[in-house]
């Protein structure tokens, strides 16, 4: 399993020389399996470059997993090149809403005055799915999702394939559910998604002092992210969903703080950076 970061910025794109190190594109992660299956997690602006790469590779089948429909996770979809290729099939998965179907909610962004092309005119073959309550299988991968603490219907995703487990929770504020560090895992938001994952991408938008001013906005401090990774038993934490006002030099301080908080020497938390790739595989047998 190969995990590639195409966008890791939160809230709004933040391009420019001060953010070039980690990148300014909003959330988008590619997961490619050994059998060639391609999963795309979220459709922030990072999906534009990914779309070009997938077209170059001749990818004809894409599974797009949307954690939620806040703009920073959807705004790139309209510029995803495979959408405009009639030879491509895209399955879109997202959280259920009590009000509208996934298709209708996404269709809003494909309509005036936001966009000139209606969803009906998109050439690619699109199928919309509400995420099921129980794990399901796509091209040999076991996929799990579950509601997590964030304003509006929001899920995290867990992908188990090729002997490894990747968990993705880019927008998550478990601190809002109380002192989760003192609870058993069954009472922790998203624990069934993240537990014992080989690799966890988790929201760590703020320093603690910043978080105190933004409680309830749906995001985590670096302290919370490190504590969360510890209680769910994740083996490697990647700090994700960078605040758009944080330049690279500030994010580097965040990374140092995370390493200090974790005390982990072998696999300390690291910053997500555009272009970063992780190769995951089954542990070597003894």
């Amino acid at each position: 399993m190969r995990v590639t970061i195409w966008g890791c910025r939160g809230s709004i794109p933040a391009p420019g020389p001060d953010t070039a190190g980690c990148g300014g594109n909003t959330s988008c992660v590619e997961v490619s399996l050994d059998n060639g299956a391609v999963f795309v997690l979220d459709a922030g602006t990072g999906i534009r470059e990914l779309g070009n790469a997938l077209q170059d590779r001749g990818t004809r089948r894409i599974h797009l997993l949307l954690t939620h429909l806040h703009l920073d996770h959807l705004e790139g979809l309209r510029f995803f090149a495979p959408l405009f290729d009639p030879g491509v099939t895209i399955d879109l998965w997202g959280p259920r809403s009590p009000v509208q179907s996934l298709r209708e909610r996404i269709r809003r962004s494909f309509s005036p005055p936001l966009f000139p092309i209606d969803l009906r005119e998109i050439p690619a073959r699109l199928t919309f799915h509400d995420v099921p309550k129980s794990p399901w299988t796509i091209e040999g991968a076991k996929i799990s999702s579950g509601l997590v603490m964030h304003p509006g219907p929001t899920v995290g995703f867990r992908i188990e394939a090729d002997g490894a487990t990747f968990a993705y929770m880019p927008d998550h504020e478990p601190a809002l559910t109380g002192q989760f560090q003192e609870r058993s895992r069954d009472w922790i938001s998203g624990a069934s998604i993240a537990e014992d994952a080989d690799l966890l991408f988790h929201d760590s938008q703020y320093f603690d002092a910043e978080y105190a001013q933004r409680v309830g906005w749906g995001h985590s401090s670096v302290e919370t992210a490190v504590a969360y990774a510890r209680v769910v038993g994740a083996r490697r934490l990647v700090l994700f969903h960078h605040d758009p006002v944080h330049p690279d030099r500030t994010l580097e301080r965040l990374e140092v703080e995370a390493a200090s908080l974790s005390g982990e020497r072998d696999a300390p938390p690291i910053l997500a950076r555009e272009g970063m790739t992780f190769e995951l595989s089954a542990p070597a047998s003894e």
Partner: protein, 128 residues
């Protein structure tokens, strides 16, 4: 142990910050949490009780009408909220686990994540 639904996690957090006696049950009828205010009514700390079938918990309080007539479990507000998935309310006389007889009003509220996704019930005790 499977993870609790986010709605139950949020309900627990709400209950733990309320001064109103409140109990949370999951979709299969297990009392998965009650708060400190409920402990004062029920007469036993949750930490001591642990997760328990709500019928077993209810029976242990010998619920009865204010006139002293026993009330079957299926007619109690918690059970109605769980079985019929509608709100219910009733005044009851109970004998708490500390041996004290108390008159309480009990309100059972079903919890739905979606119209077709029932996740449990919230039970509120109004001490009279």
């Amino acid at each position: 142990m499977p993870q609790k639904h986010l709605i139950l996690i949020l309900a627990r957090e709400l209950a733990s910050n309320l001064a109103t006696p409140t109990l949370i049950a999951d979709e299969v009828g297990r009392a998965v949490f009650y708060n400190e205010a409920a402990e004062a009514v029920l007469g036993i700390p949750f930490a001591e009780m642990g997760e328990v079938d709500i019928d077993d918990l209810g029976a242990s309080f010998a619920p009865r009408t204010p006139e002293g007539e026993p009330r079957p479990q299926e007619d109690l507000p918690a059970r109605i909220a769980l079985d019929e998935r509608r709100a219910a309310h009733e005044r009851l006389l109970i004998t708490s686990r500390d041996g004290v007889e108390r008159q309480v009003s009990v309100t059972g509220l079903p919890l739905f994540a979606h119209a077709d996704e029932f996740v449990g019930a919230m039970v509120i005790f109004w001490r009279e």
